[in-house]
């Protein structure tokens, strides 16, 4: 819809601004709520920054895994277009540096958060309980950003709320037919579930990482079916299932397990208390 805004002679892409604004808002709210899980504001901020780094790294790694086979398959055609070495290297870098996968970002965020908690002996389970609430919020903002950019578009659709995207030179097939607004549907579902998790966080004593399990259960089911409404076939697939559907099937039992058993106690990463020795007997000290 509106992939970029014009400021003078520069076009600023809206996707990044929208996503980062949502992320900043979520981090701010999380620092305000950290005391409910006995986390200091500073630790919440540092953990959030580590998680953000994990989002960037994880989403990029999974994107590369899904994209490299295509680049290898069409390598000869790429060499035809770019016979000189430097333009070819530049093309490869710009091609590989674009694109991100949500599930990779989620897994990366959890791994990097684990790394932070392990390094500095902070309660990982408390972090998970706090951050799980905001995952659907940030993701919902991201899906709105997708709608603005025109990426992750839906299947051809002629019913109510069908969207006619304006012509974009980058995605010519986007405007050929009216599309189902799958980005907005997913954003709406995410915001609703954000409300659900918020209520569970404030009104119940569900902890021990189970909020993450509840989120995973909701999202893997939702994503599995939302994938059927996606029209961008270039997002990667294995057989008749898309990459995200396969990841959903892998995460489903993990989510169920977390709900049933919670996360292991050792993930609290508590600093062990030093044993205080009994006071020395009279006459035995210096």
């Amino acid at each position: 819809m509106y992939p970029a805004i014009q400021i003078g002679s520069l076009q600023i892409p809206l996707y990044g601004i929208t996503f980062l604004a949502g992320l900043a808002l979520a981090i701010w709210f999380a620092t305000m709520m950290g005391h409910r899980v006995s986390l200091p504001k500073a630790d919440v901020l540092y953990g959030a920054l580590f998680a953000f780094i994990g989002i960037l790294v994880g989403s990029k790694v999974v994107y590369l895994i899904t994209t490299l086979p295509s680049l290898i398959q069409y390598w000869n055609r790429v060499c035809e277009l770019y016979p000189e070495l430097f333009p070819r290297i530049f093309f490869i870098l710009t091609y590989l540096l674009g694109g991100y996968v949500y599930y990779g970002g989620l897994i990366g965020a959890i791994l990097f958060l684990y790394m932070y908690c392990h390094l500095y002996k902070v309660d990982f389970i408390a972090f998970i309980d706090l951050f799980a609430v905001f995952i659907p919020f940030v993701h919902g903002i991201g899906r709105i950003a997708c709608f603005l950019a025109g990426c992750c578009y839906g299947i051809e659709y002629h019913g109510p709320f069908a969207v006619h995207f304006p012509y974009q030179e980058a995605i010519p097939e986007l405007c050929e037919v009216p599309r189902f607004p799958v980005q907005l549907l997913e954003a709406g579902l995410n915001f609703v579930f954000f409300g659900v998790l918020l209520i569970l966080f404030f009104k119940t004593k569900i902890r021990k990482g189970r909020l993450l399990g509840i989120y995973l259960l909701y999202y893997v089911i939702a994503r599995f079916f939302l994938e059927m409404l996606r029209g961008d076939s270039n997002r990667g697939s294995i057989g008749f299932l898309s990459t995200s559907q396969i990841i959903s099937l892998i995460l489903l039992p993990i989510g169920i397990m977390i709900i049933l058993k919670g996360l292991p106690e050792k993930l609290h990463f508590r600093i062990p208390q030093k044993k205080t020795e009994p006071a020395a007997e009279a006459g035995s000290s210096e």
């Binding site: 892409p13 980062l20 500073a42 277009l81 870098l93 710009t94 540096l97 674009g98």
Partner: protein, 141 residues
């Protein structure tokens, strides 16, 4: 107890580099500059957090702030143009997709260069085909 952590100047240096490269590199070279800024910003933040933990929050703020800003600008320039990569798909006949280009903010519009390359590669063939059409077959008798 405060400690003089040697990571503070390193984190600050990396953060400043990240910030400068994200703005200048993002504007002039698009995604390449933005990607370099992202890597430097990530390193700056990691080192600054370690410094803050080691010094009880006394040091490391400058590196953290610069690193965050470098990542923000880099992410804006790098993430935003995901859709432009589809131009590669049409340029290469569906060979590739999903790339981010230097085009949205960068002076060097690689997407445009791709189209120009296509014209250079196949433009003559197309022009030859047009020139060789026997227009007489369309004349009405």
């Amino acid at each position: 107890m405060e400690q003089n952590n040697g990571g503070s100047p390193i984190g600050l240096l990396l953060g400043i580099l990240s910030l400068i490269i994200s703005i200048i590199g993002g504007i002039t070279f698009g995604v390449i500059g933005a990607a370099i800024a992202l890597v430097l910003g990530i390193a700056a933040i990691a080192i600054s957090i370690n410094t803050k933990k080691a010094t009880g929050g006394q040091q490391g703020t400058g590196g953290m702030v610069c690193g965050i800003l470098g990542i923000v600008f880099g992410a804006i320039f790098a993430i935003g143009c995901t859709v432009c990569g589809a131009s590669v798909a049409s340029a290469t006949g569906g060979a590739t997709s999903g790339g981010t280009w230097a085009g949205c903010v960068g002076v060097r519009c690689f997407a445009e260069k791709t189209v120009n390359d296509l014209n250079d590669a196949y433009g003559d063939e197309i022009q030859d085909a047009i020139d060789n059409i026997d227009w007489s077959q369309f004349n009405e008798n």
